[in-house]
Amino acid sequence: MTERPLSTVQLFATCVVDAMFPQAGRAVVRVLEECGMTVDFPAGQTCCGQPAFNAGHRSEARSMAEHTIRILDATDGPIVMPSASCAAMVIDHYPHLVADDPELLTAASRIASRVREFTQFLIEDIGVDELRVTTDEAVTFHPSCHGLRHLGLVGYGERVLDASGSDRRALEGAHECCGFGGLFALEMPTVSGAIMDTKLDNIEATGATTLVGYDASCLLHLAGGLHRRGSAVNVRHIAEILSHADES
């Protein structure tokens, strides 16, 4: 792999961050800018298509993959995503989805080598010691299944949080699924809720005031579960912990 200059970073915000957690997207921009990067937000980006792919709707997923590949391939430099599962979708599944088209496949492979989940970019490309923000917030970290088992980001979120000085509480069963599973949450809500309850019990048992994660979609599900049970635990994307006050 050729060394790429780190100066310009493409942000693929992902649909969940764009619509539901814009504060996480803003925080990513601030953190990257504080690290001396120029951030660009490629126009025309939509959704990576993961929900369609996971549900077995391959043809829909393929056309969304094609759309995203064309948008991202027109840019240069690392592509940062504030969501591990979307990054895994692009890295692991895009090349298979478009394997029937050699030109698209080449582009998909180019993109796959440029995509970084946010903490992965901080650790592998920047080095966590460059973080300029410190916090003493009592946090606990939910590593997502896609982060752990697709991208291999074992310990990444924890390392970044520790570098920020936060009071991180170990989460029992951290490597277990939270029960979200994309459309699974809608297809089998009772089962999803039962899996979630175990996770929420473990989160609340840490005594942390804030649940932190790098996968916005798990966070959407867990935040909803915490709110339903009237929990006082806040939910934030990891970038929000690492960034200065939000301008909004």
């Binding site: 814009p22 369609a52 056309s63 277990e176 699924c177 599973g181 009772t190 979630m196 909803g224 709110h227």
Partner: protein, 466 residues
């Protein structure tokens, strides 16, 4: 007994949150902890898993050859081999053997394939008494229940449930002390073992080069059932083959660690032919029934690697869905991720359309599978097949069409996000407690935070406009 609901979702919803499901969750976690400890103490595990995978895939590729070699070897030793195309052929053969042996009492060691072919019911129709001798299966039989796990059949029961079943069916005083319960079962079964004419067992692995069948247990019942009676019938799925005794060694090392966190199971029986002249014990007759029952179909399918499974149950134990609902909602004898892949191909997709969706795609099963079977990928593939033929949930297809339409047209997508922002303003608290169908399934168990009144892209545009 009331009729079980027709679909996985209905059955799973009914089971989740019950004491039964809680018992499964606790026991499954316990087994995975033991598995993890055993793997951590065995540095060669990763290499052995790779080796096992190689052996299993090689065997599946050359299954015809190894099955023929195995059958020849068994017959050379004086055993008999019967190839059964389906459940009916298998049970018919076994019933004939029982008839010829004049068997009144049949003892059984644990075997999932005999559950699959409904052997007990078919022998019972000939008024033969079939007694399960694996403690778990014995309890299932007494309680007129079904196994909920391929290794630990009564994972869904507590010792209190077992105590009640024993008191009810065996007429013993109630106890929930596990040691006492064990003693009761042991005393009860010992008499039956000694009077049985036929022993039926499953087969963990069959060795092609020697004609041996390996049966592993932790209770010794497998050894008694295959040696005390005059006739031994070993029943196996046609994929249980390994080429050589060395390969068997690899498989056994990996199986026990993955299943129960043991280095080896307590009893490893390697049975090579019937009793020979001068042998102190062993059956006079050995029958090996090799069951297809849909397996050739799996072999020809895109999910053929699922036949590399060695039935350790680790994927069940680690699966968040299995842990939450237990084995019964899966409906067939093979529950958990491996069942969700195998059952639709073995027994037909119709009526099982929801099974491939019984998975969050968390990938934990692939991480622990000793043969590294990519079950999540297979489940997505089966979902594609469900989509080709219909819609498991009735709303996915139209939803995915509109979603694709919007996500491939940036201007439409911007409009959707604008709409979401406006919708977000409808909530004063920033949360929705109930939203319309099909989103109502989201708010069934969790609240939905309102979409932000200002999307990220809107912020970005405003920021760069100034």
């Amino acid at each position: 007994m009331t009729e079980a609901p027709a679909t996985f979702v209905a059955r799973a919803s009914a089971e989740s949150g019950t004491a039964k499901a809680a018992a499964v969750g606790t026991a499954a976690r316990h087994l995975i902890e033991k598995r993890d400890a055993a793997v951590a103490a065995y540095p060669a595990m990763d290499v052995m898993r790779d080796r096992l995978r190689e052996i299993r895939l090689h065997t599946l590729t050359h299954l015809d050859r190894y099955l023929a070699e195995f059958a020849d070897a068994v017959e050379g030793l004086g055993g008999r081999v019967f190839f059964a195309a389906d459940a009916d052929e298998a049970t018919a053969y076994i019933r004939r053997v029982a008839e010829q042996a004049g068997a009144g009492v049949i003892v059984k060691a644990k075997s999932m394939v005999t559950e699959e072919i409904g052997l007990n019911a078919s022998l019972a129709s000939d008024s033969r008494s079939v007694v399960e001798t694996d403690l778990g299966e014995f309890i299932v039989q007494l309680a007129e229940d079904r196994p909920s796990h391929i290794v630990a059949p009564v994972m869904h029961l507590t010792r209190f449930d077992v105590g009640r079943a024993f008191a009810d069916k065996l007429g013993v005083p109630y106890t929930d002390d596990p040691t006492e319960l064990n003693q009761i079962a042991r005393a009860h079964l010992r008499k039956i073992f000694l009077g049985a004419e036929i022993g039926i067992s499953g087969v963990n692995f069959a060795v092609a080069s020697t004609g041996s069948v390996a049966v592993v247990t932790n209770e010794g019942n497998g050894r008694l059932a295959t040696t005390a009676p005059r006739v031994h019938i070993a029943v196996m799925g046609l994929e249980r083959i390994v080429p050589t005794p060395e390969d068997l060694g690899v498989a056994l090392e990996v199986l026990a660690r993955s299943a129960t966190g043991q280095k080896l199971t307590t009893y490893t029986n390697i049975i090579t032919g019937p009793r020979r002249a001068g042998d102190p014990d062993g059956p006079d007759e050995l029958h090996v029934v090799i069951v297809d029952n849909g397996r050739t179909r799996v072999l020809a399918d895109e999910v053929s690697e699922a036949l590399a499974c060695i039935r350790c149950g680790a994927c069940l134990n680690i699966c968040p869905v299995y842990r939450a609902v237990g084995g019964h909602p899966y409906g067939d004898v093979y529950p958990g991720p491996i069942g969700a892949v195998l059952s639709p191909v073995l027994f037909g997709l119709e009526g099982r359309e929801e099974l491939p969706y019984a998975c969050t795609l968390c990938g934990a099963c692939l991480e622990v599978c000793p043969a590294r079977i990519d079950l999540p990928r297979m489940l997505v593939h089966l979902r594609e097949r469900v989509v080709d033929e219909g819609d498991a949930f009735g709303w996915l297809k139209p939803a995915m069409k509109s979603y694709e339409f919007a996500a491939t047209r940036p201007r439409v997508w911007n409009g959707v996000l604008r709409g979401a922002s406006i919708g977000g303003r409808a909530s004063r608290s920033g949360w929705f407690r109930r939203i319309p169908w099909p989103g109502s399934t989201w708010t069934k168990v969790r609240d939905l935070q309102a979409p932000s009144t200002r999307s990220f892209r809107r912020w970005w545009r405003d920021r760069n406009a100034t």
